[in-house]
């Protein structure tokens, strides 16, 4: 298994603290509030950690935005104690996307290029043609993505599975995979938003041909951002973080489902700037070492820290390459 480090510019603090992210969080929390007040919506209790399977009663509970979460003492993953059903989650996301469709989407070209280069370099290293890729719902999350693949990904055919309410066992997803018969699957924004991520991964495993390569990304509970701030992190939007996997947790889940882990990395670029902003704005908050570290940090020190976190698999985003 390889553990690459992805190095890039540190983003500007506005990327995490601007008006747009704040409005996004507000809308998602509004949707969550409505969901919690609706007595007809069914919620499912999670009796064990969705990553490593440890019984939930062993895992401490905490609340964030009126939702209860647990931190698994076995694998360090964070997960919602109970979740709405998949179709409800999908419907809420579609409403969110529709509500913001008219707003400027921002330039995500660097993110798109990073995903495309990830696939290209992996293809070269695996010495295996990945010439047919199925995108799982990212095109709905990022409307400019299909156009980017057309401009920048010339040697690959792309299919896009758009976000539509699906059943708990992802029957729609299974059918789409069977029809597309991809050599690779890209799923950068689903795992932490799924009611049952194991069911989602099982659907990929069952429906894709053996040897299919899965490029998956998610938030990472081992990241310094979550280790220090936990659910207080500005990127912890409850409906988008129903499961925040640790590396150990995700590896355990993958192994349980019979997926081979080819590569793991934590290419997150935001831990340092998120923590920098947090400690510089919350003057009363004191955590040994870290408070003074961030209050005295300049841009170079933040960059050095972020690279160290990436090299140590301790940043807030994880990427896995799996093989069915």
């Amino acid at each position: 298994m390889q553990t690459p480090v992805f190095l890039d510019h540190l983003p500007d603090i506005d990327a995490v603290a601007g008006q747009k992210p704040a409005k996004y969080r507000l809308r998602r929390n509004q949707a969550l509030g409505a969901l919690l007040l609706d007595p007809t919506d069914p919620w499912q209790e999670r009796k064990c950690c969705p990553a490593c399977g440890q019984a939930s009663d062993k895992n401490p509970i905490f609340s964030q935005a009126l939702m209860e979460f647990r931190r698994c003492s076995g694998c360090n993953s964070i997960y919602a104690a109970r979740t709405p059903d998949q179709a409800t989650l999908d419907r809420l996301r579609l409403e969110q996307i529709a509500a913001t469709a008219a707003e400027p989407q921002g330039d995500r070209e660097f993110e798109f290029t990073s995903l495309l280069n990830w696939i290209s370099l992996t293809e070269a290293r695996l010495e295996r043609r990945l010439d047919r890729v199925l995108d799982i719902r990212f095109a709905s999350q990022a409307p400019a993505w299909p156009d980017a693949t057309e401009r920048l990904s010339h040697n690959r055919a792309w299919d896009f599975l758009h976000l539509e309410p699906d059943s708990p066992d992802f029957a729609g997803l299974r059918a789409a995979i069977a029809q597309a018969a991809p050599r690779a699957i890209l799923m950068p924004a689903e795992l932490d938003r799924a009611a049952d991520p194991a069911a989602l991964l099982a659907a990929l495993k069952d429906a894709a041909a053996p040897g299919t390569v899965i490029f998956a990304a998610s938030s990472c509970a081992d990241g310094l951002e979550y280790e220090i701030l936990g659910a207080e992190s500005p990127s912890f939007v409850p409906l988008d973080r129903l499961t925040v996997f640790s590396i150990k947790g995700f590896e355990t889940l993958s192994a349980r489902l019979g997926l081979k882990v080819l590569e793991v990395s934590t290419p997150g670029r935001l831990d340092a700037v998120i923590l920098d902003r947090y400690f510089k704005s919350a003057e009363n908050r004191s955590i040994p070492f870290w408070s003074s570290f961030f209050r005295e940090a300049d841009k170079n020190r933040l960059r050095d820290l972020q690279i160290l976190l990436q090299r140590s698999l301790k940043s807030g985003v994880l990427r896995f390459i799996l093989e069915t």
Partner: protein, 338 residues
């Protein structure tokens, strides 16, 4: 080196070391030992592993081949291209007389993990055409530098370039084929009490216009291995090389594909990926390839006699391209050129 090879053979299996030859007998040795090189043939080996100083390599290799043995020899392959040609003739004669004899030289850098990954990236076509390469390989002399046989040209054939820089040149030729145009500066600056170079700088171009520059140094006080390859769509670099001493650091492969702006022009400083390798598997891979060649008749990919000749000719071209050094060298009485 012999012990390193022995350990690799033990790990691989399929080899039984029947005798070892050294300048002195080791009473703790686990295998029979001799001090006379010809005495090893009393043990009827199938394979000779040749870990001897450069000037002895041709004789040991040719004798073994004449006796129908398979041969694995350390680099450099002798002291000059004439030595290699002599061994190639013996190889051809052994093929004719015995069939299927294997001669492999230990250019292990080709099979270091980071180098193999770089080769895969280039061979896949993802990175586009190769434009140029830069290589730095250097160390800080070494203990008893002046007394070391490696710095006696009669025994070694040259200084830091033929001893260590030859690996970088071999990698250049693995990535780009043979270089035809060569310019160089060869110097002796710090270790002035020895008649070999302590620094060699060369600029080379091949028939396809790929340019490479190398700096091989014995005054690189911070041990350094760095290979950079620049291609149409991005770049690859390898920093550090795993070695027995560990002094060149871990191997870090960095690769980046360019990001393009709306006009299709590359945006500077693209996102890069670092891959770190911490285990030197090159010895095992070399032995595995040698075993497969001997036992299964598999073709050698690394360390063939042709590759040895190509790289030795490049070493000579670099020495010859600096007229000042070339003249000095010819005037040095100890220099042996067969």
């Amino acid at each position: 080196m012999g012990r390193i090879r022995h350990d690799a053979m033990d790990r691989h299996g399929g080899f039984e070391v029947v005798v070892a030859c050294d300048t002195a007998l080791d009473p703790t040795a686990s295998v029979p030992m001799v001090t006379d090189p010809m005495a090893v043939y009393d043990y009827a080996p199938d394979v000779i592993v040749c870990s001897v100083p450069n000037m002895m390599i041709p004789d040991v290799v040719c004798t073994a081949l004449e006796r129908g043995k398979h041969v694995f020899s350390e680099k450099p392959p002798g002291r000059n291209s004439a030595d290699v040609r002599r061994m190639m003739e013996a190889e051809a004669a052994a093929q004719a007389a015995h069939g299927g004899r294997v001669l492999k030289f230990g250019f292990n850098h080709r099979v270091h993990d980071a180098i193999e990954e770089a080769k895969k990236l280039i061979d896949a076509g993802t990175m586009g055409d190769l434009y140029f390469m830069r290589g730095v390989y250097g160390k800080a002399g070494g203990p008893n530098y002046a007394q070391n046989w490696r710095n006696d040209p009669a025994l070694s054939g040259g200084g830091i370039l033929i001893d260590q820089g030859i690996h970088m040149l071999d990698l250049f030729q693995m990535f780009a084929g043979r270089f035809t145009d060569v310019q160089s500066f060869v110097q002796r600056k710090f270790w002035t009490d020895v008649p070999v170079e302590d620094n060699a700088f060369a600029l080379m171009k091949n028939a396809q216009g790929i340019v490479a520059s190398v700096h091989s140094s014995a005054t690189q006080w911070q041990h350094t291995f760095r290979l950079e390859l620049y291609l149409r769509n991005g770049f690859i670099s390898v920093d550090g090389i795993l070695s027995a001493s560990g002094s060149y650091g871990t191997e870090v492969l960095t690769v980046a594909l360019n990001r393009l702006d709306a006009t299709g022009s590359p945006i500077p400083n693209p996102e890069s990926q670092e891959l770190r390798f911490t285990e030197d598997r090159s010895w095992d891979k070399e032995i595995a390839e040698f075993h497969a060649a001997v036992v299964e008749g598999a073709a050698l990919r690394c360390g063939t006699s042709q590759q040895a000749l190509d790289v030795m000719e490049l070493v000579e071209a670099i020495y010859a391209a600096d007229p000042e050094w070339s003249t000095t060298r010819q005037q040095t009485p100890q220099t042996a050129t067969e």
